[in-house]
Amino acid sequence: MLRRLVALIVALAGSLVIVFATASIASADCVADPVTGEVHCEEGEGGNNGGGNGSTGGSSTCKYNGKEIPCTGPGGSVWSSKYACWIGERGPDDMVPPEGQTKEDGWWHVCYFPPPGSSWEYMWIETGEVGINPVVLAERAIASMDLDPIKIGIVPESGANRAGLVGLPVWMWVDSPTEDTFGPITRSASEGSVSVSATASVSNVVWNMGDGTKVTCTGKGTPYADHYGTQPSPTCGHRYAKMSSDQPDGAYQVTATSHWVVEWTGGGQSGTTEFDLTTDPLPIRIGEAQVLTQ
């Protein structure tokens, strides 16, 4: 039995101090603002969220002509399916409403077109069409879900008196999955007449085994039970090739990153938001069988 094979092989004293170095290869795109003259640099994507409770970064996409496009355009403009452009800043106050319209009915706005563009003119946007960003409502709905990283299920178990063996199967699974750790979970957010409904689910879990291996599992994995003996996990497993004695604190630091996909719809738009949540590292000790026989 895997659980019972576990024995205290090496006396491990002292508290665990886990030092987790996060390598971040950040890139920066810099542009000169033609209005202020200032050069602004935007950090590119790089690195990850290392240990800890994960982050809820992500991006939202809207659909246009069957293709995915960002819901937020230049200068924080908001995509409008109705006008097929990102609605941006208001035009100058001295502009005149079109015939039959008043300032109460709407106003002229800059419209940023996805390529290819057609017309560079201010667009008359009716009141109520701007100001409520469905993307913001979607993010609000996601925040209300209060999502968490998964709870790690793993054998060999973590603990001072626990250790696994080189070459034997390691089982990984989502322990006690709930709607806020694995989904699906649906929440809504509303403002004015606009309501957005979002449904979130974990699409996969990437297990960083601490030995340089990453295992991607699409389901929850299979919880280990004693009757499985030394069989490998049918759904989500690993085998360590080396002892963990040369690792910091003598243990592999295992993390699980759940990849969330949120589909949302409302306000005349639909989109997808994706982000990752990562668990704190869990130390797993691995030894060799012959040590047991001594």
Binding site: C30, V31, A32, P34, V35, P114, P115, G117
Partner: protein, 187 residues
């Protein structure tokens, strides 16, 4: 090395497939041909680009001309922009022009663009333009802006300054999709 001058208010653009250096140091404003070519009486005799690198450089040259006209006239001519730009660059130019109009920012004068040798990354092409704005004046609400640009440290932006452009294939045509001002590097 070829060099392009973009006159804002009489645009004349000259492109350089520069193997080294920046145009800002070169006092000769005339269009130059590559050393292997015979002198040409007019800019219209520029050889048709054949290699992917040449085609991409020609597209960037065209884009810079469209961009500089857009700045000068504070409007976008999609007929000329659509064939040469896409992605973020396509959007950011619209945003720049709209912001200039709303904030009453104008630009006058002549940019000089000197293109470095394209770097072919397969799906994308990277080209650095050494942009010289010696002859360019930016005005906010009619007043000359000095310095015209400041780097992230608040110091006047160097001139010339390198800008790295990314071009991607869009339906078989190289188009400018992104730009990155390399403010802390010399040309």
């Amino acid at each position: 090395m070829r060099k392009h001058h973009s006159a804002l208010g009489g645009v004349a653009l000259a492109l350089a497939l520069a193997l080294s250096g920046c145009g800002g140091d070169d006092p000769d404003p005339e269009v130059k041909e590559t050393p292997t070519q015979s002198p040409s009486p007019t800019p219209t005799s520029t050889p048709t680009p054949k290699t992917p690198e040449e085609k991409a450089a020609a597209q960037l040259e065209a884009y810079l001309e469209v961009r500089d006209i857009a700045y000068r006239e504070r409007t976008i001519d999609f007929k000329t922009l659509n064939p040469v730009a896409t992605g973020d660059e396509f959007l950011q130019l619209q945003h720049a022009v709209a912001s200039m109009t709303l904030k009453k920012v104008t630009v006058e004068g002549e940019y000089t663009h000197t293109l470095d040798e394209p770097r072919n990354r397969g799906k994308e092409m990277l080209i650095i333009d050494c942009e010289d704005r010696t002859g360019v004046t930016w005005k906010n609400d009619g007043a000359v802006r000095q310095p015209d640009f400041t780097d992230p440290n608040g110091k006047p932006l160097r001139n010339p300054a390198p800008v790295e452009y990314t071009l991607v294939k869009d339906k078989g045509v190289w188009k400018v999709s992104d730009s990155d001002l390399l403010w802390d590097q010399p040309c």
